[in-house]
């Protein structure tokens, strides 16, 4: 036996020993599942919790594993699973109505150690019988729960139900270490028909509203159907009317088409007749033309020729006879005229001669008498006219003088200076004469410049004399008295005719 073999055997022995130890430990080790609690009691069980120190002294393991010494310790499993119990209870509601209630209670062991300990003490060996206990328990509780509720609350108000469940079962559940997850009321058997009747008004209302709605919908549907039917009928009517109209048009067209054949034929025949008539007319016209040209025109020509010839012969004979008669008449008239003219000429000549002689004699006498008379008259007229003219002249002169005097008097009254000037002008020759006396010592004066030179000289002489207008006025005053005297005389003799001037 080699060393290697010894080593191999020892290693195999170790492995076997280890496997044996593992198997033993595996048998001793207990693990708590999540839904269960291990209740361990026996040798050396330490209880750490102070509040359970004075208790019965067992160990509660949840969620982990622990070694259990066989023969000295025991490990029991308490299920923490949810459990359900069906209940069927005849009870009386708050309103006093007898009902039979079927319900389900869902409960479990509480998760805390106190609840587990309570439950372990009560149910560890009768976990199968836990449901019976709960059934009995909740049958009583359900009576109290249902007795605190009305049927309506049971049906509708879940909050009230759970509240009642808690209210009635809380302390007892704590004692048992259980918690109620849910209480479900599954069915309520109502012998009095309360629930049925409870729903009836609502059901009736629902049914009524359903019927009303159905009726309304039916009515609306019927109305719509009627409207639709009416529209359909109207459409059918319209369609038929249009079809009839189209049929009438088709018939009309067909009748027209059927009549168009005979009509065309008649029209064509009419055209033929018209053309034939026209042809006949043309033929007649042709025959007439031919007759005209061949018969009538020659006959007319011949008749015209005959008539023209006869007319010409007759006219010629008439003209000839007329010419002869005219010639005879004219010849007789010419003879008579010639005789009468000769006689008239003779008589006229005689008469004219006699009248000329008588006229000459008378004219001579008359002329002489008229000449004498005219001469006398002329002389008398001349004398008369001369006298008259002289008288008129004298009278006019007197009148003029009188007017002049009157005017002078009026002027004197109005403007002395003007009158003086006037007087001066009128007396100019005498003034000149008086002035000329200044030239008395001049023996012989030759005036070279004619009349103008004379007047210049006089003016100069007058101005040189130093007297000027004063001299003139003086002269005028000297002559003024005789002038006024003469004026008085002339005014006194105003009415007389003074022929001597």
């Amino acid at each position: 036996m080699s060393l290697l073999e010894i080593l191999l055997l020892s290693a195999g022995g170790v492995i076997v020993a280890l496997l044996v130890i593992f198997g033993i430990l595996r048998l001793l080790y207990k693990v708590a599942e999540p839904n269960e609690a291990l209740i361990i009691s026996g040798l050396g069980v330490r209880v750490d919790r102070a509040d359970t120190a004075d208790s019965l002294g067992f160990k509660i393991i949840t969620g982990r594993g622990v070694n259990v010494l066989p023969g000295f310790q025991t490990a029991r499993r308490l299920s923490l699973d949810t459990r359900g119990v069906n209940l069927q209870v005849s009870c009386v509601t708050k309103q006093g109505l007898p009902v039979t209630v079927r319900a389900v209670v869902i409960y479990k062991v509480g998760d805390d150690f106190a609840s587990i300990a309570n439950a372990a003490r009560r149910f560890l060996d009768q976990q199968k019988g836990m449901n019976d206990t709960i059934h009995e328990l909740f049958s009583g509780h359900l009576r109290s729960i249902v007795g605190g509720l009305t049927i309506e609350e049971m049906i509708h108000n879940r909050d009230a139900l759970t509240g009642e469940v808690r209210q009635s079962s809380a302390t007892e559940m704590i004692k048992l270490g259980l918690i109620v997850d849910s209480l479900q009321i599954q069915e309520i058997d109502d012998e009095s028909g309360y629930i049925l009747n409870l729903g009836k008004p609502h059901a009736a209302a629902i049914a009524a509203s359903a019927r009303i709605a159905e009726a309304q919908r039916d009515q609306e549907a019927a109305e719509v159907e009627q409207v639709s039917a009416a529209k359909k009928a109207a459409a059918v009517r319209e369609s038929q009317i249009q079809q009839a109209g189209y049929q009438a048009e088709v018939d009309e067209a067909r009748a027209k088409a059927s009549q168009s054949g005979p009509l065309a034929e008649a029209t064509a025949r009419q055209e033929v007749v018209v053309q034939e008539t026209r042809a006949a007319e043309l033929e007649a016209a042709l025959a007439e033309q031919r007759l005209q040209s061949q018969v009538r025109k020659p006959a007319d020509a011949k008749a015209y020729d005959t008539r023209t010839t006869a007319d010409a012969a007759r006219d010629a004979s008439i003209a000839k006879a007329q010419a002869e008669a005219k010639e005879t008449e004219l010849r007789a008239a010419a003879d008579a005229t010639r005789v009468k003219t000769a006689a008239d000429a003779e008589a006229q000549a005689t008469k004219a001669r006699a009248e000329a002689m008588a006229g000459a004699t008378r004219a001579t006498g008359e002329a002489e008498a008229a000449a004498a008379k005219a001469r006398g008259i002329a002389e008398a007229e001349a004398a008369k006219a001369k006298g008259l003219a002289e008288a008129e002249s004298a009278r006019a002169k007197g009148l003029a003088e009188a007017d002049a005097i009157k005017a002078r008097a009026a002027a004197l009254a109005e403007n002395q200076e003007a009158v003086v000037a006037q007087q001066l002008a009128e007396r100019w020759p005498e003034i000149v004469e008086a002035g000329a006396s200044a030239f008395g010592n001049v023996d012989h004066m030759v005036v070279l410049n004619g009349a103008d030179g004379m007047s210049d000289m006089f003016a100069k002489a007058l101005s040189l004399g130093g007297t000027g207008l004063g001299l003139a006025r003086q002269l005028m005053d000297a002559m003024g008295k005789p002038a006024e005297k003469e004026l008085d005389e002339s005014s006194r003799r105003n009415g007389e005719l003074k022929l001597s001037d």
Binding site: D51, G110, D111, D112, A114, S115, N118, D159, T162, G163, R166, Q167, A170, I174, G177, I179
Partner: protein
Amino acid sequence: MIGSRGRVTGTIGPGLVGEVLLNVRGGTEAFYAYPADPDETYSSGTQVLVVDFEPPRTVYVERWQPLSR
């Protein structure tokens, strides 16, 4: 358990046995609940604070007061 915050699942009030859902032992469990102040009433859905615990399954609660309020 004391100091846990939970939600009311059954009305808590005088004369009633209420229910509170709490986070414990890695899960949620329902506990019977009573008001710490006997006159208070907490309806379902109210957040509450556990102020006392009575083994095994009874708690006393008062209304949860968020810090922000």
